[in-house]
Assembly symmetry: C2
C-alpha cells in the first residue's frame, strides 16, 4: 500500500480507486457466483485488472474475502425513532432489503463456510456483531441475560432462516408477528410501553 | 445402479455398501473441509474408491452433494411427550446436538451456497422442510398464519443464528428463554396450558 513512484496524491488516488473497484467486484463475484468462484483469476477478469496487481495488494484468498466484505460497509440500517416496535420492525425490514439487494444471505453462508479458517472466523464474527448491533441496542431496553441473547437470535432468525434455508424472505406480516410475539413474550402489554419490565 | 455381472444378491450388497461408504465420506469431507473440497478426487481419495467408480454412480458434483446429504437421514430428533414446552426445548436441544456432532451448521451454509443451482435448491428446500417438521408440528398447536411462520423461523434461529454467525451454540438457559418468550408471546400463561389460544 506504500506509493511507489509518481506523485504521492496521484498514486494514492489510484490505490483508493483500485481498492474500491476490487472490493465491489469481489463482492459481486461472491454473491452472484458463490464463495468457490472468489479467486484472483476470476476477480481480475471481471474487474479488468491483472492478476499481478491483485496478488500484489491481496496475496491470499483470505485477503480477497476480506476486501469483498468491505463492500458491505454501506448496507443501510433503519433510523431509530425511539418506539421499540417501530424500530425493531424497521431494522428487520432493512435486513430483508439487504438480503434482496445485496444478497446478504449469500454473504452469511459464505462467511460460515470460510470459518474453518481462524482469521476468517474473526472477520465473520466482527461483521456479524456489527450487523446485529442495532437490534441488540433496541432489545437491551427490554431484555437482559439469556432472554436478551434468545431475543436477538430469534429476530435475526426471522429474516436469516427463510433466506438461508429456503431462499425466501418474510412478508411484512411475518416480521410484525415476530416482533409482537417477542415484545408480548417480555411481559409487555403492547408497543406503547417503553419502560423495561419490572 | 443396474447390476452387471456376478450374482444379483452379491452385486446389490456391494452397491449398497459402496453407496453408504461414499455418502458418509462425502458428508465428512463437506463438514470438515467445506463445500469447496467436495470433489470426486477428494471423496475417492478418502473413501478408498477409484474416481472411475465415483463418476460412474455419481456423475456430477450435484450427485455427490445429494449423496452426502443422505448421511443426514439418521439425525436424531426429540421424542414427543405431548407437553409443548418440553417438546420445543427438547427439539431445539436435539438441533443443537446435531450442530455439535454432525456440523449441521456447515451443512446448512453449504446448502445455501449451492442454491445458485436449481436442482440443489430443491434438495436444500426438501432437507430443511424435513428438519423443521417436528418444531412446526408442535407450534401448529399454538399458532397459525403469519405468527406460525414467525415462530418457526424464530425458534430455528435460536440455534441456527449463533452457529452460522459466530460458530457457537446456545446454552440451555437461552433455549429455554426462547421457548418461554414464544409461548408467552402467544398469549399463553404458562407451559401447563395445552389448548390453542382463543
Amino acid at each position: 500500500m506504500t506509493p511507489g513512484h509518481g506523485t504521492q496524491a496521484g498514486e494514492d488516488a489510484r490505490i483508493v480507486r483500485t481498492r474500491a473497484d476490487v472490493a465491489r467486484t469481489a463482492f459481486d463475484v461472491l454473491v452472484s457466483e458463490g464463495a468457490d468462484a472468489l479467486t484472483h483469476a476470476r476477480v481480475a477478469e471481471r474487474a479488468g485488472y491483472s492478476k499481478t496487481t491483485l496478488y500484489k495488494h491481496w496475496p491470499s484468498r483470505f485477503d480477497l474475502a476480506a476486501v469483498a466484505l468491505e463492500a458491505l460497509g454501506d448496507v443501510a440500517h433503519h433510523e431509530r425513532t425511539g418506539d421499540i416496535r417501530t424500530d425493531l420492525v424497521g431494522e428487520l425490514k432493512a435486513f430483508r432489503q439487504a438480503v434482496l439487494d445485496r444478497r446478504l444471505d449469500q454473504v452469511l453462508s459464505a462467511m460460515a463456510q470460510w470459518a474453518t479458517d481462524e482469521m476468517m472466523r474473526e472477520v465473520r464474527n466482527a461483521v456479524n456483531t456489527d450487523g446485529q448491533r442495532p437490534v441488540r441496542a433496541v432489545l437491551e431496553e427490554v431484555f437482559e441475560g439469556a432472554e436478551l441473547e434468545a431475543a436477538i437470535s430469534m429476530l435475526s432468525g426471522v429474516v436469516a432462516c427463510p433466506s438461508l434455508m429456503f431462499g425466501t424472505v418474510p412478508d411484512d406480516d411475518v416480521i410484525e408477528a415476530a416482533v409482537d410475539i417477542v415484545l408480548r413474550g417480555a411481559g409487555r402489554a403492547g408497543a406503547e410501553h417503553r419502560s423495561p419490565r419490572g
